[in-house]
């Protein structure tokens, strides 16, 4: 009844091509973003910022990066964590070796380095696809972590290969408290999500989807396969690289290359699969699911008063069961569930 688009006419091309064509959606999203920026810093606790919101946003960004590659361009990748590592270590080295380097530029340069590595390791995608490509991106994962631990220059000759993120300072303002870091991460994620949303609606995004759906057909109608696939790798790795840098600078602070291991790549892949392939919103939903569910579960099993050795295992079992349940009930992910709910809501209360 409330959620209805009757009477909303689109009279110009600009109106027609809005991100949220329905007025209610638009207001809800704007209100939500305003809430995240203006209200959340005052109501959330430090625990909430540093343990839930910041990791959630960072993982959303990484999932978004992978979703561009896997969901939109159809190239499976198991090297997400490696691109994150490149972003983090590159940003660290730029900050360390270039005096007066602004931190935001370091994040961007970190992302650029990651996208160069992405292009390099995306080259095999021109010849191989599917599971074979997944196996070859696995090589990125191992090569990058190996390289970061083998070449001491990357870690500034730290004997154990651990780097400590420098202080985050923009225009003389220090980002020290969890609230400030949250706002910084939120701003970066918002801008990058908006960019991604527009990118996938533009020629670039359409060419990715054409290649994903059938690359021979895409080639026949005039898309250059090499350029399309490699831009997908470059953009995706850029997002992952920035996410990796944020992971180091705004979340954990001190990182060893091992933190960006295959496990992390898989976690981000799960986020994309559960959230919904080929959906920007899905990346956020998936990250929320994978980051929050174990925490909520551990709270729930904690209050039941079972011994700890049991609760730890129950949590894992429930988590696994829920993932299988979701994949069977809705293989297209949470984003699809959301879409179905919206379609139902449009007809409510008089479905025909």
């Amino acid at each position: 009844m409330i959620y209805r688009e009757s009477g909303q006419y689109k009279t110009s091309y600009i109106n027609d091509s809005q991100i949220f064509p329905i007025k209610q959606d638009r207001y809800a999203v704007l209100a939500f973003i305003a809430f995240a920026f203006l209200a959340v810093p005052f109501i959330a606790t430090p625990y909430f910022f540093s343990a839930i919101l910041i990791p959630f946003l960072i993982f959303s960004l990484a999932a978004l990066g992978l979703n561009i590659l896997t969901g939109y361009a159809g190239q499976i990748s198991l090297g997400t964590a490696a691109f994150m590592a490149v972003g983090a270590f590159a940003a660290y080295n730029f900050m360390l070796r270039v005096p007066g380097m602004p931190i935001l530029l370091a994040f961007i340069l970190g992302g650029v380095c990651a996208s160069m590595v992405g292009i390099l390791f995306g080259l095999p995608s021109l010849r191989i696809r599917g599971f074979y490509l997944a196996a070859s991106t696995l090589a990125t994962q191992f090569f990058v972590v190996w390289c970061l631990t083998k070449v001491p220059w990357f870690t500034n000759y730290s004997s154990s290969g651990v780097i400590t993120a420098q202080e985050v300072k923009i225009l003389g303002f220090h980002f020290n408290t969890p609230e400030e870091k949250y706002l910084l991460v939120l701003a970066i994620v918002c801008v990058m999500a908006l960019l991604a949303k527009n990118m996938v609606r533009s020629t670039v995004g359409r060419s990715w989807m054409a290649v994903r759906d059938m690359d021979v057909a895409a080639e026949v109608i005039g898309f250059r396969i090499m350029r399309t696939k490699l831009t997908a790798f470059a953009v995706s790795s850029f997002y992952c690289g920035v996410a990796g840098a944020l992971f180091a600078y705004c979340y954990v602070g001190t990182v060893e290359p091992e933190a960006y291991n295959l496990d992390l790549s898989f976690r981000i892949l799960f986020m994309v699969i559960i959230g919904g392939l080929g959906s920007i919103l899905g990346s956020f939903l998936g990250a929320g699911f994978i980051v929050l569910l174990p925490i909520v579960l551990s709270y729930i099993v904690h209050v039941t008063g079972l011994p700890n050795s049991v609760t730890s295992n129950v949590e894992l079992m429930v988590f696994g069961a829920l993932i299988i349940f979701f994949l069977i009930v809705e293989p297209h992910g949470l984003a699809r569930l959301w879409q179905v709910a919206k379609e139902k809501l449009r007809l409510w209360p008089f479905p025909h």
Partner: protein, 439 residues
């Protein structure tokens, strides 16, 4: 977008209710968060260590607490993962009047919370792992690598090998293989081993084993060809048992193998079966039985409050490490009470002072029922380690036995110099002015 919002609300509701119920718990208790891991790859070590710590807490509480102050704790499962550990730390640090200290028993988690400690005023102990240079309390006021670090352990290893060969100068021209887990952990002792290589003139061969280390045929082939005098096994998890089995298969004597302490527990040797017999490792506990362990058996397990489900593991290597850790924490709190008021609940800052001014000598160890169970410890602002001594133990096929009657100490002056250099670099990067915190 909306669903995310609803989810966030739901989670905040859950968090708020748990926070409320937590606040209602008794305030007159010394709260210690336990960031344990009981599932996943490293569950065997985690359940033993944290089980030991909790057993000791139960013992202290059964005996009336610390000058009447009972210890309370809450567990949070980290699965040994850095992100989970950080979440657990953040969840528990303000609970029940605030965390008074924390021990994650995982390098990744320790790094993840390292930078948060000074702001939260929560001291962290890292028994036998973590940053070796954190021993410098002027740069790392809230980090305590108590007893000994990786660097001192590596120095202790070389000292032991030297003594075994009949003098440090006898190591000249010998071949020592460093077979290590290819990670930050395995590379941590490099600077120490390399410094000794130059100083003593032995040949150091470094052979990495990629994680998880389930196949080491190539590495052991290389070791057989090199035919070294000693092999240092710097392994972790399944890698240790595989190394022992592969050594047996290629016929390399286990007596020449010296493991790191994370390669020296029942969980490492029992899976290797007979192949582990005669294998030696470092340790910071003297294996055996002690009055305090008997007391735990009687008062804690007798009252059915024991944390280990398998009673055979009482007094095992990991269990004893957990007891040792808890004993040192309690000593730190007791020490703080002596200064700031007996019978009061201490804050994290006060416990930090207590840990910085620990003095657990033999007399105190005897009172605790743990004479010689771990080396004597005397900490200061300059030395957050307090000892640096290690011991060597051998697996006789059924149990660990101490090899060296006395505690082995390597070249402490050299290690201290390295700690100073490395921590100075960290201080410069983080723009910290090294200084002792006032009591």
């Amino acid at each position: 977008m909306k669903l995310k919002f609803v989810k966030a609300l739901a989670v905040s509701a859950v968090a708020a209710t748990t926070a409320l119920t937590g606040a209602l718990a008794t305030a007159q208790e010394q709260f210690i968060p336990i960031l344990s891991y009981r599932v996943g790859l490293y569950a065997a070590g985690g359940s033993g260590f944290f089980g030991g710590a909790i057993d000791y807490f139960n013992l202290v509480n059964a005996n009336g607490g610390i000058n009447g102050v009972k210890i309370s704790w809450e567990e949070c499962e980290t699965e040994y993962a850095a992100t989970r550990g950080v979440e657990c730390y953040e969840r528990l640090k303000k609970k029940n009047g605030g965390a008074t200290l924390v021990e994650p028993l995982g390098t990744g988690i320790a790094y993840g919370i390292l930078d948060r400690l000074p702001a939260d005023k929560v001291p962290m102990t890292t028994l036998g792992y973590g940053r070796s240079d954190a021993a410098n309390g002027q740069v790392f006021p809230y980090v305590f690598p108590l007893i000994t670090s990786y660097w001192n352990q590596a120095a202790g290893m070389i000292k032991y090998l030297g003594d075994k060969s009949g003098g440090m100068d006898k190591l000249k021209g010998k071949k020592i293989v460093h077979l290590y887990h290819d990670s930050a952990y395995g590379r941590e002792p490099f600077p120490v081993l390399e410094a000794y290589e130059k100083q003593l003139g032995f040949q150091l061969i470094k052979i990495p084993v990629p994680h998880p280390g389930t196949d080491q045929n190539a590495q052991w082939l290389q070791i057989r060809q090199a035919n070294p005098d000693h092999v240092i096994l710097w392994g972790w998890g399944v890698m240790n048992a595989v190394a022992l089995k592969t050594a047996a298969r290629v016929g390399f004597p286990r007596e020449k193998m010296l493991g790191v302490w994370w390669a020296g527990s029942e969980e490492d040797t029992i899976p290797a079966g007979d192949a582990a017999k005669g294998y030696t490792t470092m340790t910071f506990n003297t294996p055996g039985n002690y009055p305090v362990i008997d007391e735990i058996r009687k008062k804690v397990y007798g009252a059915n409050k024991g944390n280990l489900s398998d009673k055979d593991r009482i007094g095992s290597v990991y269990h004893m490490r957990g007891i040792t850790a808890a004993m040192l924490w309690v000593e730190g709190i007791r020490n703080a009470q002596n200064k700031y008021g007996k019978g009061k609940v201490m804050t994290g800052e006060q416990v930090r002072w207590g840990l910085e001014n620990l003095n657990v000598d033999e007399k105190r160890q005897r009172e605790l029922g743990a004479l010689n169970m771990f080396p004597t410890i005397k900490t200061s602002c300059q030395d957050h380690e307090g000892s640096g001594a290690v011991k060597v133990q051998v697996w006789d096929g059924k149990a660990w036995k101490a090899v060296t009657p006395n505690w082995v100490i390597g070249d402490r002056a050299m290690i201290q110099k390295m700690v100073a250099e490395s921590s100075a670099k960290y201080a410069a990067e983080k723009k910290i002015t090294p200084a002792c915190l006032p009591g």
